[in-house]
């Protein structure tokens, strides 16, 4: 595919973002964000070709809506000069991403994302924002801080972003034709064999006369595949075709993959969370100590101030 038009779309996006980042009038910034979102939509359209590549036009339409929502919300998030609104726009990004996950049949991750990100992490951010963002001089008409309005080196940042976006676009377009062949749905059945009790219960519910267990194929799999159909064979030669409803659900598949393929990583994730908790607790404790030291300084007066100041610097 020709790379000229996608690069033009990338350039339009970053130029619009450059104007929107600068402290100009609100209407111009909104207009530039609309231009940037249109460029992003154009880029997505150029790469995918048509909505029907998603198997279904309605699925393609949902993909387009969710992805444009995500890009628009993220653009507004980094251009908004009030941090609380930035956090709220990030919630919109998370919700759009959860929609994309639903389209990708990752239901568990979609709702885990909403619960953990929008529910827990963003609340922490909002809490700290409310705690730290108290405007001291309320008689000033514009309570927004200067460091929220004036960006730092927008031209350099937009240039770096343009290079990265061009690299990603070129790689995706160039590599999409040579991507490895799609995996088969048959691999999804393999998980069922690792859940023997559920396997047996669901098969017996389907056909209570089926003599358990089924015999394995020469490859060692109980479930055999022929064309689109998956079936099991008993020792008496009885064949039972498994309907798609018997496939393990998304949550089961993810859970099996988690404990089967990444047991050490799971333990390490627990250690990381524990260390983060320790770190946060220790940081908060030190903050209280500094407060107490300053209190002592005030109480004791000027005599010990120099010593206390020195020890404070060292810690």
């Amino acid at each position: 595919m020709d790379l000229f038009l996608p690069y033009i779309a990338c350039l339009t996006l970053v130029l619009a973002l450059f104007v929107a980042l600068r402290p100009t009038s609100l209407s111009l910034r909104i207009f530039m964000i609309v231009v940037g979102v249109s460029a992003a939509g154009w880029l997505i359209g150029l790469v995918t070709g048509s909505l029907s590549v998603f198997g279904d036009v309605s699925q393609g339409l949902f993909f387009f809506i969710f992805s444009v929502c995500a890009v628009a919300a993220s653009l507004r998030m980094i251009t908004h000069d009030r941090p609380v609104y930035s956090a709220l726009y990030f919630v919109l990004v998370v919700l759009s991403t959860a929609g994309l996950f639903l389209l990708l049949e990752a239901e568990f991750m979609a709702f885990a994302l909403i619960i953990v990100y929008a529910g827990a992490i963003l609340i922490t951010y909002m809490f700290v924002l409310m705690l730290a963002n108290q405007s001291t001089d309320s008689n000033e008409l514009d309570s927004r801080a200067t460091y929220d309005r004036v960006p730092r080196e927008p031209a350099a940042a937009v240039g770096v972003g343009f290079l990265l976006l061009c690299l990603i676009t070129g790689t995706v377009i160039g590599g999409s034709s040579s991507m490895p062949t799609q995996g088969s749905e048959q691999s999804q059945w393999a998980t069922l064999e690792h859940l023997p009790k559920q396997f047996q219960a669901s098969v017996l519910e389907l056909d209570s006369t089926f003599p358990w267990p089924p015999i394995s194929s020469p490859q060692g799999n109980m479930i055999r595949h022929e064309g689109d159909e998956s079936y099991i064979v008993s020792s008496e030669g009885k064949t039972l075709v498994l309907p798609d409803e018997l496939l393990p659900r998304n949550t089961q598949q993810v859970g099996w993959s988690l404990v089967n393929e990444f047991p050490v990583s799971l333990e390490l994730a627990g250690v990381i969370l524990l260390m983060a908790m320790f770190g946060a607790a220790i940081l908060a404790r030190r903050a209280i100590e500094i407060g107490e030291r300053e209190k002592q300084k005030i109480l004791l007066g000027n005599e010990t101030e120099s010593e206390e100041g020195n020890s404070g610097d060292q810690s």
Binding site: A40, L43, I44, V47, T48, G49, V53, F54, F63, S67, A70, M77, I78, P83, S86, A87, V93, T97, L100, F101, L104, E105, A106, L113, V116, Y117, I121, T124, Y125, V128, L129, A132, T136, A145, D148, R152, E153, A156, V160, G161, L164, L165, I168, V172, S177, M179, Q182, Q188, V254, S257, L258, F262, I272, M277, G279, A280, L283, A284, A287, I290
Partner: protein, 102 residues
């Protein structure tokens, strides 16, 4: 899922990553900078899930669980640091802490 659909998801993930990077470089508010890193995490998560779906491999979704773990740990530590810095200097401007490297 066709490879064109996968390319669409990867482009969305690349857009989120790039916008997050630009935001991280441009914004001067410490908390918004950390929010932009979360945006970059989102881009990575979309790529993981899309490729996992394309290959019928559930490891992609497992990676998102680890991304959530890292994001939660990062948010806890970074926000504790930000509160600590804000108590000392009474500002969230990243440039105000420029002399830390000296």
């Amino acid at each position: 899922m066709t490879s064109s659909a996968l390319a669409g998801y990867l482009i969305v993930s690349g857009l989120l990553l790039t916008i997050g990077l630009i935001g991280f470089l441009v914004r001067r508010n410490l908390i918004v900078m950390f929010l932009c890193t979360e945006l970059m995490f989102q881009g990575a998560a979309v790529a993981f899930v899309a490729i996992g779906r394309y290959l019928f491999d559930y490891s992609g979704q497992v990676m998102v669980i680890f991304i959530l773990t890292v994001a939660a740990a990062e948010a806890a530590l970074a926000l504790a640091l930000v509160v600590l810095l804000h108590r000392q200097r009474d500002t969230l401007d990243a440039d105000a802490y420029g002399e830390l490297y000296e």
